[in-house]
Amino acid sequence: MKAEINPNNLKVGSNYEKVLASGQFACTGEIGPPKSADFHHIEMYAEGMKGKVDSVNFTDNQTAIVRLSSLGAAIRLLQLGMEPNLQVVCRDRNRLGIQSDLLTAYAFGVRNVLCLSGDHQCFGNHPGCKGVYDVDSIQLIGILKRLRDEGCFECGEECKVNPKFFIGCAENPFGDPFEFRAIRLEKKVEAGADFVQTQCILDMERFELFMEKVRERGLHKRIYINAGLMPVKSPKMARYMQTGVPGMLVSEEFCQRLEKAKERGTAKEEAVNITVDYIKRCQQIEGVAGVHIMAVAWEEIVPTIVEKAGLLPRPTF
């Protein structure tokens, strides 16, 4: 599907940016790099997502567990002819290390970067390690913007060939203080974020409430808002996330749909159906520009969800 776009409206010109700028409903996937020196799974999942999503996120040592780097995975994806979205957390590197990786990423062709705080190191497999947090995610956004728009590093020194990234951030509509969440998103917009991918939405009503707050501040006109969605195939997992994962809200409706499906032996199908329903609901919410599908440890299901949601074919330019 060929889409029209005015190139003058683009900051970077990545495919993801083009889709969003063209006003079409964006759709991105995510792959968690493995805990081993092996590209096999990345290649396999990437193959499945080819042509089905606009960009693929690579998580950066997610849940503070050592994995193949998001940068390495992103470069591999570029080699496969697809577009990555490089996740960068503030937990593992200082501003020196992060900016160095950003130069490398850009030189290889990475154009989308998502700035995150990162899960606390105590959750991971090296809980005694020193968390860095030299800069926070909002400061990191500012660093990317300065590199792109002013051509200089955080210290103010010139960067000759400066990386120009489509700058992303996350926001959690389910975290507290709830009243602060939209303000925090506004700070990210002010710092220079171009797009946001929300934490996964397992409580649609709360997300709608968050979007109300976002619209009150006019943020939906200043940043591309992508709703994060996660297919959950196990009702037990849904219940665990409801009570045991900090910063998450899971609605009763979500859990019960999965539980009833499990009794019928169709939990997996229902997980897909719920995600498809949520995508359709997101399409109806004013200010939502796309969805980001995080099928954690179930990456192969992404193409099915995208197809069932009627999001194919993806736009090309």
Partner: protein, 224 residues
């Protein structure tokens, strides 16, 4: 104050195993207030060591002395007499006192009798909590008087991460979210607009190694 806790007796016995005469050096400063290393605790430790060593058949002579502060050369001099006759010293001061005592009596091994934990407040009897990181560039004016460096588990300067929920930090339900506290305080003060300010990357002030402070107006040279 500086909050510390006594090291387990087994660890201390291990450190001083080769010696037959040691001095337990207490400190009358912070560690006295937090009941980790004052005169009373020095006495208790000395007794524990004597009992343990006589039980295992290697008796030891243990001296005890507590001075006003171990972070001050003037008071450290008071250890002179006792220190001269011992093979090792166990200091119950914070890490500062332990090191400064070692500098003063450099020919004698000085061992830590406490673990220095943090800069904190005494919340209740037997309860202390961290309040300051000594970062060297105070931002309390921007955050309602609550420190995001010390109170946020990630030392975030621009608001809570996604793991804040029901007022608690993602690391534990027993830990308050520092940014929830900041939000609540600013709300109470009618200063929520302060949350909108973007605090830039911090100068952590460690780029030139260990920090020092010289007050020219106070040095002896300045008076001469």
């Amino acid at each position: 104050m500086i909050v510390a806790e006594r090291k387990p007796i087994e660890k201390i016995l291990e450190m001083i195993a080769p010696y037959k005469k040691v001095l337990i050096a207490g400190c009358g400063g912070c560690v006295t207030v937090c009941l980790a290393g004052g005169e009373k605790e020095a006495g208790i430790l000395a007794s524990q060591i004597r009992i343990a060593r006589s039980k295992n058949g290697s008796p030891i002579e243990v001296l005890e002395q507590t001075v006003e502060r171990q972070c001050d050369a003037e008071y450290l001099a008071k250890f002179q007499e006792q220190a001269e006759g011992v093979e090792a010293i166990v200091s119950l001061a914070c890490g500062i006192g332990i090191q400064y005592l070692g500098e003063r009596y450099s020919s004698i091994p000085v061992f830590p009798g406490v673990n220095t934990l943090f800069l904190g407040a005494n919340l209740d009897v037997g309860k202390w909590a961290e309040r300051c990181f000594a970062c060297g560039d105070c931002v309390l004016d921007k955050t309602g008087g609550i420190c995001p460096i010390a109170r946020c588990s990630k030392s975030l300067l621009n608001g809570p991460c996604g793991g804040s929920q029901y007022g608690k930090c993602e690391v534990s339900k027993d830990v308050d979210c520092g940014w929830q506290l900041i939000y609540d305080r600013l709300k109470e003060l009618g200063q929520l607009d302060k949350l909108k300010e973007i605090i830039p990357p911090k100068n952590w002030l460690r780029e030139k190694g260990p920090r020092t402070l010289v007050r020219e107006d106070l040095t002896l040279e300045s008076r001469n």
